[in-house]
Amino acid sequence: MKRRIVMRASSPLRTRAALIRCVVVVAALIVWAGAVRLGFVDPVFVSSPGDVGRALAGFTRDAEVLSALVVTVRTILIAFVIGTVAGLVVGTVLGLSRTLKDAYMPPILFLLSTPKSMFLPLFVLSFGITTQTAIAFGAFTVFFYVCVNIVGGVELVEAHHLRLARAFGASRLSTFRHVVFPASLPGFFAALWHGMTHAVSSILLAQLFVAIGGLGTLISVYSTSLQTDKALALTVVISVIAVALAALWSITERRLTSWRANQ
């Protein structure tokens, strides 16, 4: 297609949307602050934007919070690595054998769709009130998402490209290098992404469920002790990190896939 219709004034529209979005967020903050000031809501339960801001600033000097952050990040990474490796191995095996895939994918997909939190008490039973519980539960959750996405990726290779490679008489090595590997990359990226997001949420969940330390435990402590400003500030920190990571990831993925397209 040579010509495309111009989304007339496309970038002004985007800036306008971003501006309006800022206005909406600021307005919400003002309403919140106003409601607290005018006594419509109880600051003990909802805190106020000012207090949350101060709590946020205080975190930078708060050893408790900083060490909880470190613990949480470390736990997430360990669980992610273990779960991803297991998911990669099982996913590749299942992906390459149609029989195994047909036999075991339905139960795996069912387990994937059940709330994983149901199994959390089992991990507590096995590992006690320790960080290992969180690691094991996180790895367990990550495993399913990685496995399913890897299988999906390998499936794509099979469907579209292998026949083509065979038709052009490619050797086994070059088939892998030029066909299997690049074609299964999207599934691999998807696996990493879903593995990471579920590592984060399952570790936070485990830390909420059992008091083993980390950000999850801290939020639970703050909110039950009515330190609402700190609880809210922590959710803000976690949300911002999550959104930033997602943005970073989508940029990286675009880079990587465009590299792929250029090969």
Partner: protein
């Protein structure tokens, strides 16, 4: 209404003489369409003047991308012309009005989530006709094109030709004064398009409506048209309007007559000239 429509002069100026009743029912007055694109404005249709009488069948041919669909959409009010205007019975066509002009689109455009029956009844639904009545009417229409067995099938389950027939009766359901047909048989093979054409012919040409048909087939253009409008590209314009005087409806034998053969040869020369002389816009 199968008598020969009063012929209009080639390159008719939007003249006073035939703008009253008995003359042109549909007047295309200096219509031009620009698109705004990433590279600025692009003139798809430069200027087209055409008077069409009631009951007339006009074929439009021309190279791909010369603005045929654009012109048709303008006639139906879907794309407001950048220049000039389209009048029907003295009224300017400003926006689409399916009672006045109904479309059969180049790509059929059946809604994939509606059954064939409900697709045919779509215009009636928008008009507010009750469900029972519009379905009954749609069913009758489907029968005329032998699709009654597929009333409850979804478009994806129909062949290209079947989808095409459904799209044609969807337009007919509006009982419009003007039928705008954009390559209705375009996606079909030679055999089916001939067969479909013969089937559709009766349905379409005995209604007394104005018919405007875009086609790539010179045979089709000459066989059906009271006039054949030949368009040229970059930017879209009318190169020639050719009259085919044989009365309609025409039997298949018409294709063996001198008039048909001569007209066809003339069009072929025009389009060959087209290929040599005017480079098509690059894709």
């Amino acid at each position: 209404m199968n008598g020969k429509a009063q012929s209009t002069a080639y390159k008719a100026e939007p003249s006073a003489q035939n703008s009253e009743q008995g003359g042109a029912a549909l007047t295309i007055k200096g219509v031009g369409v620009d698109y705004s694109t990433a590279e600025g404005t692009f003139t798809a249709v430069e200027r087209v003047d055409l008077d069409i009488a009631a009951g007339e069948f006009v074929s439009i041919i021309g190279p791909s991308g010369c603005g045929k669909s654009t012109l048709l959409h303008s006639i139906g009010g879907l794309i407001p012309p950048t220049r000039g205007e389209v009048e029907f019975r003295g009224e300017v066509i400003g926006e689409p009005h399916p009672d006045r002009a109904a479309f059969v689109f180049q790509d059929y455009s059946l809604l994939p989530w509606k059954t064939t029956l409900d697709n045919v009844a779509l215009g009636l639904q928008f008009k507010g006709v009750s469900k029972g009545e519009r379905r009954a009417r749609a069913r009758d229409l489907l029968r005329t094109v032998r699709l009654e067995a597929f009333a409850n099938s979804y478009p994806a389950e129909l062949s290209g030709g079947m989808q095409q027939r459904a799209a044609v009766v969807r337009a007919l359901a509006m009982d419009p004064d003007i039928l705008l047909l954009d390559e209705p048989f375009g996606a079909l093979d030679e055999h089916s398009r001939r067969q479909l054409g013969v089937e559709m012919a009766e349905l379409l040409t005995t209604t007394g409506k104005i018919l405007i048909l875009i086609t790539h087939s010179l045979d089709e253009a000459v066989f059906w048209g009271d006039r054949v409008v030949v368009m040229g590209a970059s930017p879209g314009h009318v190169k020639e309007v050719m009259e085919i005087s044989a009365p309609r409806p025409r039997a298949v034998d018409f294709m063996l007559t001198d008039e048909f053969v001569d007209a066809r040869r003339h069009l072929l020369e025009l389009s060959r000239h087209d290929l040599d002389g005017e480079p098509e816009p690059a894709e």
